[in-house]
């Protein structure tokens, strides 16, 4: 069971390494969007500190959205998805592997670069730490929920816009608790509660989303 998940992760990571432009462009999108705010708002540390959690999280959601349409589309176009569906394993395990691989190439880099970007907003060391933790904990949920949307819009024309309309509202809880954790740390309340809820969201979505996506993929393959 674990073998198929690791096989999918290995293959997807290898493919991502051959197509680095995709990873790099989403990462630079994140960096640029976040960096525009301090430039636009001006040097007001109090205001920037207040804005930081929301801006970083909204940018993270949008950067994740960028890579979602291709999650299944490439496999669908070249027929690999059919073969994956015909492998003697439940399709949900294959999707689990794809979601983990997607997180490794889209969510993880965001979490690693976020503390550097946070400095532009004059966040304290504590807040930067919580920010990194929150993005680490929350982005797997973004990949999981995103996979459902990507599977539902597979093969549709103009699926990209529909995907955003479908998925972004579902990202709201992650946004609220993710930004809330950093906010609470900045104001001195402590972000543990928010982080626990974020972890709960991630585990729930990683358990549920692959099977929902698999059901949607089967319909797309009919």
């Amino acid at each position: 069971m674990l073998k198929i998940v690791t096989a999918v992760i290995g293959r997807d990571l290898k493919l991502a390494m051959r197509r680095q432009a995709d990873i790099v462009s989403a990462l630079f999108f994140f960096i640029i969007v976040v960096s525009l705010f301090p430039l636009g708002v001006g040097p007001e540390p109090d205001l920037l500190r207040k804005l930081a959690p929301g801006v970083l999280w909204v940018a993270a959601l949008l950067a994740t959205m960028l890579s979602l349409p291709r999650l299944f589309a490439d496999d669908h176009r070249d027929g690999t998805l059919e073969q994956l569906a015909l492998a003697p394993h439940p399709l949900g395990l294959v999707v689990t592997g794809k979601v983990i691989a997607h997180w490794l190439v889209s969510g993880l880099p965001l979490a690693l670069i976020a503390p550097v970007l946070g400095i532009q907003f004059d966040l304290s060391a504590d807040a930067l730490l919580v920010l990194t933790g929150a993005i680490l904990l929350g982005t797997p949920a973004l990949s999981g929920i995103g996979a459902i949307g990507a599977a539902l819009t597979l093969g549709l024309r103009g699926g990209g816009v529909l995907l955003s309309l479908l998925v972004l509202p579902l990202y709201i809880p992650v946004l609220i608790f993710g930004a809330g954790a950093v906010d609470a740390t900045v104001t001195g309340l402590g972000g543990e509660g928010h982080l626990s809820l974020l972890a709960a969201l991630t585990f729930a979505s990683l358990g549920f989303a692959p099977w929902a996506s698999a059901a949607a993929l089967k319909i797309a393959l009919e």
């Binding site: 293959r11 073969q83 009919e222």
Partner: protein
């Protein structure tokens, strides 16, 4: 071994066929024939379980393929219109990745041997995007060389192949039938398969 009973296929508003049935035993090959749009590919997709039939049932070794699920798919090898190869990977990586994902044991030496047999020796380390259409098809067909699964379902396997490759593939399919395998395929060019019992089914 493989039985189809009273199958009905509806695509959109149109009924493509109804009351279709056949029985295929070990060592037999079924040629599906019919005009473009007659429903050949739809029938194949029903046989592999991706398209649920409107009515009727498909049985493998006496049990419905719906209840067998993973067990049925472990006996199945399907080759569709699409090559299912990744342009960024080399032929060798493609073959090994496909085997791993399908849970088949394939060593690197076996994979290299298969690629040599399909005439891709010397190109196993070249990304597939630099290969021609026919060569990509050969990468996809290389899977069949070491394939031990009993049921092969092939959708237009001879498309984009040159004469020598067509003969080679006919030989591979014969070998499979001789080992007691089953094959169902669609094709517009009738190719002589020397071994096994050949049956034909025409979808009107």
């Amino acid at each position: 071994m493989l039985e189809a009973d009273n199958l009905e296929c509806v695509r959109g508003e149109r009924r493509l066929f109804a009351g279709l049935g056949f029985r295929l035993e070990a060592g037999e090959l079924l040629y599906l024939q019919g005009k473009n749009g007659a429903g050949k590919t739809s029938l194949l997709r029903m046989l592999i379980g991706l398209l649920p039939p409107e009515a009727g049932e498909i049985r493998w070794r006496g049990k419905s393929i719906r209840t067998l699920a993973d067990e049925f798919r472990a006996d199945l090898c399907y080759l569709g219109h699409l090559n299912a190869i990744k342009e960024e990977l080399t032929p060798l990586e493609n073959l090994l990745a496909a085997a791993r994902l399908a849970d088949e044991a394939l060593s690197e030496d076996e994979a290299l041997d298969a690629l040599e047999q399909v005439g891709l020796a010397g190109r196993e380390d070249l990304a597939c995007k630099y290969l021609s259409q026919g060569q990509k098809r050969r990468v996809a067909l290389a899977r069949l060389v070491k394939e031990k699964r009993p049921l092969w379902i092939l959708d237009e396997p001879f498309v984009a192949l040159d004469v020598a490759a067509v003969d080679w593939l006919a030989g591979i399919i014969s070998g499979h039938l001789q080992r007691g395998g089953l094959a169902v395929m669609t094709t517009h060019q009738l190719v002589n398969i020397p071994a096994g019992k050949v049956r034909e089914l025409r979808i009107a």
